[in-house]
Symmetry: C2
Subunit: 444 residues, 2 copies
């Protein structure tokens, strides 16, 4: 939940369900029904997923050895990430096909595509006016907005396909600039609560606030103390009903700040992590292997370093246990260059569905006992503790006047439980889970 805060600082949050219906007049784009049709068309039959090559342009990745990884291993974890320059927009439409678990994941290929056309597959129109996105299609802010919109759509559609229910789409705007799109499915067939948020906000930061938003606390010089900024991200938390289906969280974000002399500071942040209620070695291995594959294409140190960072970040200190079995987490990524960093983030974003959906399908019909449900609820309580006590994104959001609280706290489960002195029976499956949370493992 680290960057749900990106959809905050919103004094005039105006949720509009299915905005596409509202804004089509202004933009001349298709209405909600045509989006739905397109969404249906985007799916091929079958229950397991991977992204396939749909275009021809091969992205260039970071060169191993060129990046210094030392600084992000020092335990400085801040919530918001990345600042922008311009680039070449190459993100394309994603398609899905049958795939076996832990195979053929995320060959990050894309096709150049018409922005207006690509927008039709989104859950809502983008936050930025389509004409502006078209005009600025080479700017990193536009490319990242298209990526987060696509990530939201791909994930929501994959989840809807499993559940049979539909996401409620709330669109909100921010007085000072920007807004967001919150997609929530509550009390569905499969999900207790599923939320997928996009936010794109801009405005001016004070020098002090800008310093605090960056892990390294770099001093930035503003014009009259003010720094124009742009922040955007996609973030999601899925809490399934069945205790054998784990909770997943991911978040990918981009931040840019313009200094007085016109210099642009930018950085990316993000991560994907899994919170099961019971240990399933196959699930854990699949999840981490899929992430590693995405990371390895960009730098051999990304997976081990970001895996460790994830274990450190999602740590419930007062319980001396991690929130889940981890995944990857990174922040303040501005190397080796903007193009490579963006490509890495894109690989990660496109890995969300193949990381998680096979696990959902695998456990869809698992039976469970009331005791297993109770244990899930106790773990949900721990999830709440982490999110309210430690998560920097949530803390930043709650402390910011005018935040859109419903989007920030969308990450909380529908239900949770706190039992006094709860301790699993020795040798039980619950104790096995706790052991893993107390002593994070290497899964691959």
């Amino acid at each position: 939940m680290t960057s749900i805060a990106l959809c905050t600082i919103n004094n005039t949050a105006r949720p509009i369900a299915r905005l596409c219906q509202v804004s089509r007049a202004a933009h001349g784009t298709a209405d909600f029904h045509s989006y739905s049709t397109l969404r249906k068309r985007a799916f091929l039959p079958g229950g397991k997923w991977s992204f396939i090559r749909a275009g021809t342009r091969r992205m260039s990745h970071a060169s191993p050895g060129r990046i210094s990884l030392g600084r992000y291993g020092k335990g400085v974890f801040l919530a918001a990430g990345a600042a922008a320059v311009t680039g070449v927009l190459t993100a394309g439409v994603s398609h899905f096909q049958r795939a076996e678990m832990a195979t053929k994941v995320s060959t990050v290929e894309e096709e150049e595509g018409d922005i207006r056309e690509r927008c039709k597959s989104f859950m809502s129109l983008p936050v930025t006016d389509i004409r502006v996105l078209e005009q600025r299609k080479d700017a990193m802010s536009a490319r990242m907005e298209m990526l987060i919109m696509e990530t939201q759509a791909a994930f929501c559609k994959a989840l809807e396909e499993v559940d049979g229910g539909a996401f409620k789409v709330d669109r909100w705007s921010r007085k000072e600039g920007g807004g967001g799109i919150s997609c929530v499915m509550q009390d569905g067939k499969v999900y207790e609560k599923a939320g997928v948020n996009v936010s794109v906000v801009f405005g001016n930061l004070t020098e002090e606030a800008a310093k605090q938003m960056r892990s390294r606390g770099k001093v930035l010089k503003g014009k009259d103390g003010k720094l124009p900024f742009c922040a955007m991200g996609v973030s999601s938390v899925i809490h399934p009903k069945n205790p054998h289906i784990p909770t997943v969280h991911f978040n990918y974000r981009y931040f840019e700040i313009e200094e007085a002399d016109g210099t642009k500071q930018w950085w990316f942040g993000g991560g994907t992590d899994l919170t099961p209620v019971y240990v399933d070695l196959e699930d854990a291995t699949h999840f981490h292997k899929t992430l590693k594959k995405a990371c390895d294409k960009h730098h051999p140190k990304y997976y081990p370093d970001f895996k460790k960072w994830c274990d450190n970040y999602f740590y419930i200190r007062h319980r001396a246990e991690t929130r889940g079995i981890g995944g990857i987490f990174f922040d303040d990524l501005d190397s080796p260059n903007q193009e490579e960093a963006f490509n890495f983030v894109k690989s990660c974003a496109k890995t969300v569905v193949p990381c998680y959906l096979p696990i959902v399908y695998k456990h869809l019909n698992d039976s469970f006992t009331p005791e297993q449900k109770d244990w899930q609820q106790v773990r949900r309580g721990r999830y709440v503790e982490f999110n309210l006590v430690y998560d920097r994104g949530v803390k930043f959001g709650l402390a910011t006047p005018g935040s859109r609280i419903e989007s920030i706290l969308m990450s909380l489960p529908l239900t949770a439980r706190w039992e006094y002195m709860h301790e699993p029976t020795k040798g039980s499956k619950e104790a096995e889970m706790l052991e893993v949370l107390r002593n994070p493992k290497e899964w691959i």
Copy 2:
């Protein structure tokens, strides 16, 4: 939950159920069964309560007009309170009798009593060895420990009488000095979760830590930078099952620090507040009137000032609503003198049962719908948000390595719920509650 933190800083928390069984050998006192018998004997038949005059000594109270109240109205709210000197131990055994709601509350009278005899009515032996309490019976620390133990016992017994269930009594010790007694009843007939904590801890504070523990941030000079301190308190949160029975919280605490030159700084803190799920004007009036009566005996400004402080303190800023309908809250109370301050705290502590129990009995058999239960669960979620995000005692406790987490988080409900974009129907009973939480009322 402001001072559950007092039972923290505990590196070697060792819960021992019904310590009385464990420690009787050391102290030569009665075992658990004799405590139970005594507890039963302490009750008179009937369901509504007030304290009656059981002794002859009249306590002297603070003189109205002598105390400057301005400073505690400035929004400086810290968790732990009060530091000690010596005094005369006069706290007596409490008895209960039938009483009509909002009548004859808290005639704070006591009898001089044998410490060993009084201890028999407690939920467990006191934290401090009885022989030490006997030797130091005139010291404020001993008097306060007897008061908090008595308050715990009186409240637990009153709650057990309603529920029919029994509290689980966990006793824990702190390596550096002191310990606590946590009484919890979970999933009872009436209560979803009921917790009543006592803690008595001592040791050395750094000058910086000592400064932070006091609202006014007074600089204290320690010997070699260290300040011997003693902190104790009783705190409780009761979450009933029936949505028509409100949640109650109270906490009374005492703090003392010894400076290098032997000067003792001391102060008290505390409060009692109610969190209903539905507005019941009669309940709210009874609750506040009972508190006001206790306050008025000591200073005419106590109730209005501490009522306002309570509304300000239990404010969920990100929701722009209070946690409940308030009550009283104060901290850093060291005037007009120690005896008067203690008498005020004693009045408050003895008002807990007559404040709350009549309300419990009134709604004991109220019927409720699943929708009303859901609304209760949503409000429970808000309770969790306040306690984890804002409560200074909880924050202090969670941030302190080695805290006894189970005692700190005992305040969390057994179950809670977070619904996305939950908004009660206009004109509904739920909307009426929300309106009161958004605009705190004067109840009397």
